[in-house]
Symmetry: D3
């Protein structure tokens, strides 16, 4: 019996809703905050809108022949219950929620929410897996020490992660960086930690498949976390975000990056910074939903035809 | 423990989701169709968007002191699984779904969907309750015999209902009728059946509380169905609908009409014709969500403080 | 054979297109300019968008039982070919076009365009009918001598008309005036000419039917021109205009004003200042289309049931 | 020499920009925060958008013949430098900024920002004037003790003010309250403090001029603060806000309330909760700008013609 | 004498309106339906909006020096009178309308409408020309047997065409296919028929001119039909459509595909699936209008400078 | 002390406002007109919206390591006081304003406004520097003799410039030209003057860095003016403009063109045709702001790290 696309309460990809990660191989989970945002807010509604737009997602990946649901048990486990008035308490809540998800042996696919959330998620991830490799796709390095007087926010998560030893610094790559900055060399600190920095200029006009084969070599066999800030994409394609920067990646390149993560030991993924009030075309949430599905398709053990 | 408004998979009013009406006193149910529409489509997304906007609804009615959840068990039971390619088959599916809801002793509060759905719903309602009284709030009479060559559509449901004896014609009132029409007296047929017709001109600039006390007298003690087409409201307040007509009711009058239904023997209610792609302000779905909550508050047995 | 609302090239009210006014009793005609605008432009697209939204208009007026097409021959005669680079040349073109329309014995129902156009239209009207009465519905008096250094523009048409003797000043009423102004008494000049000035405060919370019966007395039997600036309406209902002022008339009051013109000797009507790029809800053009239909319904000789 | 409306860097009402309140009788000041918001954010952009839409404001009030600039020195003094990451620090910054404004003998006309800001503003106001009367126009009472676990936020400011003795409780009125609530009597606490509570139902369909003459009697000669939450207005007119509630006040009633404050000893006013990302028609910011101008017009010592 | 772009009733490319195809070499014709749509509707308004946006089209192709109007007689012949309540009857009406157009020796350039319409159009085309070659540009193969229980809809037209022998299967190419699917190999059936399938991955980052020279070889001298679903383009460029899929073709590639059809024996073209309610930037209809003009420019016998 | 991005009255890039160019090395200046527009207006609001979106601009160019504020004194000097009712008078006002800016030894970075303004700006520029080289980035050549009967408008500025000898014709390049035209060879006149014409087809799918090194050779050491019409970009990225043409440049290519101007003797730059009412995503103004910052970064004497 068929079910119309339009029908039903919107879970991610029309998957069943579950209230815990127990028994799941992978789970979509929302973290609806924007209190880490420095400019335009709205990312708190990211998970809701990604779920709404995900109604178009079908079961197979026509481009890669991945059949994720044939080998993995996947569900939507709802949202972390955030505290909109206390970002540090929210971080604590996220960390605890992810500890449980990871303890269940489930790989979290996170729908953000602003990029602050990568910090507590990586705390939980590193607690389980030790320091991890990181594939960070973003217009911004998010490695400031302090933003507008604060240590915790969407401009600082990866600084905090390095300080706490959560990352395997030589196994970190940042892709798509660009825009204006607060100092002459915006990416100096990243390079000093041993990160590979791929500024957007290196990406223009070309396939990123070759880059990704280098990235796979860099990542090796160890655990890898994929953090994808939707503002990595050009705002022509993804206007619904808080700190857009022009001349970014194309959705095609975004797909290539994720498909290029196949065969890695991915232990978690996020797609952050979708801000629906600014997503006047709806394309940002739609793109977020599709990129999350592509992430699911490259998790370890997914069946391919 | 608090839960942020923004958090969670959007059910109506953040109520629990249930997959059947068993054990419920009242249920919100969606009927996501627009294939009965003659002009602008989009009402198929009405239930989804009403649920999204309903996140602001709290448990008590500040205006009337109704406390619906203290005396009734209520849930969101999802959507009727409609057939977007066959309106007659969809009508059959609706009728059957409502038979089950009614058989469970549950009062359905329907989120449309275009107005066609009132016809199969009333078939199920009359099957259980016999011919019912009808409070029909709309810019249009929806009593055409045939529209664009078709018997079944959003311009004809109440004609069909009369033909099948589903309505107690002297206990029918139509409120808010207006606009341009296909014949010199657009409401002749309604009056000929014994309906009370309240054209919008009778409603301008004044409270509808006096009208509603007449309506309560007209309805008496028998079963009553309330069918509220959002286009009854002025499109300044409710732009997101398919056949908007200017100079309509205000939301205040809409609230008065519903509150005026308290103490009636309501056996079912619907709120139809919310078309999200045209709801550029979001106010139409928000209004729909609030009017549905007001309907819940006037169901029989609701506790008032 | 039926025709779907959505079908066909958009003429006003789906009327036939004619390339001249010959043989017509009344004609809808567009004047697509906004070069007389002082603030937000866009009214050049008013005629096009009013035509698009007019697809919903049916043949009869349900509220008044007017049947305009049973007694009048009506068509859409397209647009005056304006000069977007020379407002004075545009005025000349308008004047000449209206001379021809009037010479054919046809009553023009104008779709603006900014309010500047009332000046050349009234030149043609007065040339045929002598000085006329004027029912001017607007947030603004439009009686400045000079705006931003210019004599011709949307803030000055009625000053120019008075100077040229086109108006019967004691048969002029201005309804809905409000907002901020350039001098302590914004309507002093109007009153000094003998105009009746009805500030919006006199209109709040009440039916304008009593006012209109006074207006009919003021107008008497002589020729009357009706000029309706959509910004007379509250911008909650009509956001798509260039100089919106809050706390305006409701669409209901707009309809009452026009219906109150029945039995007058109307010799022309316009509906101006609809600016589609700012009409994010579409309600402004829809309202314009409906008000133009109401104007048609009160022309002399229209049949009523 | 004229200046086009469109021209120039957008200050409020095209007034000169000043970097302090020294020498001013009244000042427009922005407080660009939304971190006190529980549902939809965006009010941080309220001051910016109100300034943009204020370009239409001219020097005189056509409705009341007020000529504010003939008797008062007024400027735009920019924004309080808020801390987007720490709401309590933001409150401290606001309090200090308003101490300086008030010390200069200047009356602040505040452009919010979410309603949290009323609390630190009233701290500064009461420090100078002692406990004040309060005219609070809002859909919500904003008197919760704790919202989502927090004491400081846009749902709690007036609770905090009462606790700190900043208000003269018998000289407090709350107008426009409505919507759903968390308890059977949402306004019990307000009434218990001696506030006058005017629920929206008392306002429907009528002029608020009579109410305001009662309010003036209630307020007497003492200092009065006017706090106007734009969500008091119906979301049909003001969609751009974070917690909209249907069936609200009309802009006309909003204007009447403010005009009804003439002859009071107003010591400060605010207009809060304009959220531009949700203001799809632009009408919310436009309305905010006009209401702020109306507030200026009723300050003590304004000249009237 | 010049005519302003803004002026006049919107026909396609400001061409004359004709009520039949007699005497025309090519005709633009609208088919305003969306009842074949499975997800988001709105394509019924495609023809109207394409006409509106086409006002910018001038007479010559600056890129290719085509001068279509110097060698062909072209007009806008309005819309097929569809039945919005019966898709099969609509198909019959389309087939009959196209028989007449083709019988007049006129090449139809169709403005859709959803993709269902390609089926009855191809019935009429094959009736005249025999089985034809097909250049099908789309995100989707549209070769399902049944969608949501139905044989006729926008997901099935080319399956039906093959079943009825309307296509020369080895002269069919499908370009731009991508997205998620219902089975591991979404394009298996297409390949089994002998179609050439060009998945979008083969198109990324490069000119499609080389592909098109292979396509020209494949098509040879026989009759060819070009069917262009706007969702072939990336939704960053064409958000206004019902089933958007990310990582699609660019408008530049769309233009290359059409220009690459020059010198083929084109017997008909369509541009389908433009859904204006979702076209928030207006760019989808604008792109549709331009692609239709490019199609006109590659018809047989068009003059080039 | 930090300042939140959201805070403060919007000057370009949050620079200080100055009321003259005295003492400045470079100045951002607005020219808010659209009366030279032939199709969709709105560019009069371009400067205002570019300033609003520029709030995200930080001090350094991450891509090129330019540090413009370390070597140049830069401010926002507000808008030229245009005459919205007289385009020729506006041109005079622009010319005079730019004479003063140039006399102060300041390089103007202009925020348009429609492209007409390039003509009076170049009059002032050539008066100071003699005939200049021109890098003209646009979808259109803007070299018509007369448009809709007028010599002055946004379709003619470079024709006028050539006639008055303001350009060094062999040092003129036009990049991005495309779309439909009024004659078979739209760029014949340009080539006849000695301009280099780079149609968009030459730009598709590739980096423009090689082109720009040819352009630098063409320009040599003499003074060069850069005029960038935002409609050069594809309307997928820049929908907010008056005469959009599909298949245009990408923002990446726009950035490359500007960065390719480094080491030239730039004497002025403009970014024109941003029309905010059509910029539904906000991306057009954001792109304009960023491109203006890139222009600043390539002015002579800017420090690079
Ligand atoms: Mn980030
Ligand atoms: Mn980022
Ligand atoms: Mn109805
Ligand atoms: Mn209706
Ligand atoms: Mn006017
Ligand atoms: Mn006006
Ligand atoms: Mn409040
Ligand atoms: Mn409130
Ligand atoms: Mn298709
Ligand atoms: Mn498709
Ligand atoms: Mn140009
Ligand atoms: Mn251009």
């Amino acid at each position: 019996e068929f079910v119309a696309r339009v029908s039903g309460i919107p879970t991610m990809a029309k998957l069943p809703y579950r209230d815990s990660a127990d028994g799941l191989d992978a789970a979509f989970v929302g973290v609806p905050i924007d209190t880490g945002t420095s400019n335009r807010p709205g990312a708190r509604f990211g998970p809701r809108q990604i779920r709404v737009e995900s109604a178009l997602l079908r079961a197979y990946n026509s481009g890669t022949r991945a059949a994720p649901y044939e080998s993995l048990v996947v569900a939507d486990i709802g949202d972390v219950n955030v505290n909109v008035y206390d970002l540090k308490d929210t971080c604590r809540r996220i960390r605890e929620a992810y500890r449980k998800i990871l303890a269940a042996g489930c790989i979290p696919l996170t729908m953000g929410g602003d990029h602050t959330i990568a910090y507590p998620i990586l705390q939980a991830v590193a607690e389980k897996h030790g320091p991890v490799g990181l594939i960070h796709v973003d217009a911004h390095a998010d490695t400031s020490d302090v933003v507008l007087g604060e240590k915790i926010g969407h401009g600082t998560p990866f600084r905090r992660c390095v300080e706490e030893g959560l990352l395997n610094c030589e196994r970190v790559v940042q892709i798509g960086l660009r825009g204006t900055g607060y100092s002459p060399d915006s990416y100096e600190w990243s390079r000093a930690q041993g990160f590979r920095v791929v500024q957007v200029e290196e990406c223009w006009f070309k396939s990123l498949a070759p880059l990704m084969s280098e990235v796979r070599a860099q990542m090796g066999l160890g655990p890898v976390y994929l953090s994808f800030d939707i503002d990595a994409l050009d705002p022509g394609f993804a206007p619904g975000t808080g700190t857009p920067e022009i001349a970014g990646l194309t959705p095609t390149q975004g797909v290539e990056i994720i498909r290029g993560c196949r065969h890695l030991n991915l232990v978690g993924c996020d797609l952050v910074e979708v801000s629906p009030p600014y997503d006047t075309t709806g394309n940002t949430a739609l793109t977020g939903a599709n990129l999350l599905f592509e992430m699911l398709c490259v998790l370890p053990k997914v069946k391919y035809y």
